[in-house]
């Protein structure tokens, strides 16, 4: 219980600080909506191509805006060396990781909750597949993205060019998550049966579990780098 309380405390601290300045969330939201607007101009919003490219557009908007948040999550802890303050506290260091994962997840979900309707409006897109299945895929895809992203953000935070380094090391590792999320979303948009996305959903779930478990073993070393 204490471990969970420490995680909740870290999430509380991050969200209070974030919603006071709205530094990360505003950048993520603006970027996500801008990506959708750019694609709305690039493609004919009423053409048949929209249905084919829309899953890719959605996940490009989600992941590219998410990178902005991930970049700041540990870099912010470098000001006044607050990360050292966390490391000195009597708390298992994986609590720091899970606190950051939950904060990043909440920020991404807020961004997605606003930018997805914007996409539907700008592309005049009628959602005909299962909304529940779409939400499941977005949940798993986002969790995979933030768990891997938070882990690598901690790794790259000590590098001076961390904002350049993070996308370079993150996207190759993220390929299975992006492919799984895009393929599942496309199937849902085409009103495919759940059986058609079960394989992708399993892949996303396994990836999420792996990258939620790996930090238990490695996060101590990552912080000491």
């Amino acid at each position: 219980m204490r471990f969970l309380a420490k995680i909740a405390n870290i999430v509380w601290k991050d969200l209070v600080a974030e919603f006071r300045t709205k530094e990360m969330i505003s950048a993520m939201l603006i970027f996500s909506v801008l990506v959708i607007i750019v694609f709305a101009f690039a493609f004919d919003p009423v053409g048949e191509t929209v249905r084919a490219v829309s899953p890719g557009i959605i996940w490009v908007a989600f992941t590219f805006s998410g990178i902005l948040g991930l970049n700041r999550s540990f870099v912010n802890e470098k000001q006044n060396e607050t990360l050292l303050g966390l490391m000195l506290a009597p708390v298992d260091r994986t609590a720091i990781f899970f606190g950051k994962v939950i904060t990043n997840f909440i920020l991404m979900v807020i961004t997605e909750a606003i930018s997805l309707p914007v996409f539907f409006v700008l592309f005049d897109f009628r959602m005909e597949g299962s909304l529940l299945q779409l939400l499941l895929v977005i949940f798993l895809g986002t969790l995979g993205f933030v768990s891997i992203g938070t882990f690598l953000a901690a790794l790259s935070a000590n590098v001076r060019t961390s904002e350049i380094l993070l996308p370079i090391i993150l996207f190759p590792v993220l390929v299975p998550v992006i492919i799984g999320a895009v393929e599942s979303t496309a199937t849902i948009f085409n009103q495919g049966a759940f059986e058609q996305i079960v394989g992708w959903v399993k892949l996303l779930a396994v990836y999420d579990v792996i990258f939620l478990v790996v930090p238990f073993i490695l996060f101590d070393y990552v912080l000491e780098v």
Binding site: T82, A89, P90
Partner: protein
Amino acid sequence: MVKTIGSKTVLKDINLHIEPGEFVSVLGPNGAGKTTLLKVLTLLTPPSEGQVYIAGQKITGNPLALRKKMGVISHNTFLYGNLTAYENLLFYGRMYDVPNVRQRIKEVIAEVGLQYSLNDPVRTFSRGMQQRLAIARAIIHDPDILFLDEPYTGLDQHAIGILNQVLLNLTNQNRTIYMITHNFEQGLHMSDRIIILVSGRIVYEASSKSLSLEELQDIYLKLVGES
């Protein structure tokens, strides 16, 4: 104890015993290994060879319990600029499982004289105010051992006075204090024992009572010059 970073041995044959309630000041030039030694003692990095015991326990045994006994004041404040003073103390109080944390915040904030700025964001504080709040943060869990890393850096006279008063109170409560400083006068005045670290080795140890400021300066310059 030995600490190696990469191919460089930063701490060599460190053999140090500090009694409970003792106040030890560590002096040394830049690059002597003072901060690395502090990082080992505060469990931020393990020693490469040898053993470290804190409060009679091996540091590898139950590090979380040992961290609860320690407070750290550094020239970095470990404070969140976008949070208020109260929110910072509440956050750290919860991290250290401080019982009745809201009452404890009132006590420590009064001790450092910031009760009228409790709800102001820390980013609006002067350097001296931030360092005073950092003192409150470090003692909120009433630590048995206090580590200080150049705590006087950037402090005004008021903040120096408050820090000295806090250290005096802790000394009177028989708390152990380990301070890295470049301030010979403060180090000599406050502590029981002076240690000089040069090139990763303890090259000098003496009781502060047996030294005058001039003697300490002469010894330090001689030892640093020899290295």
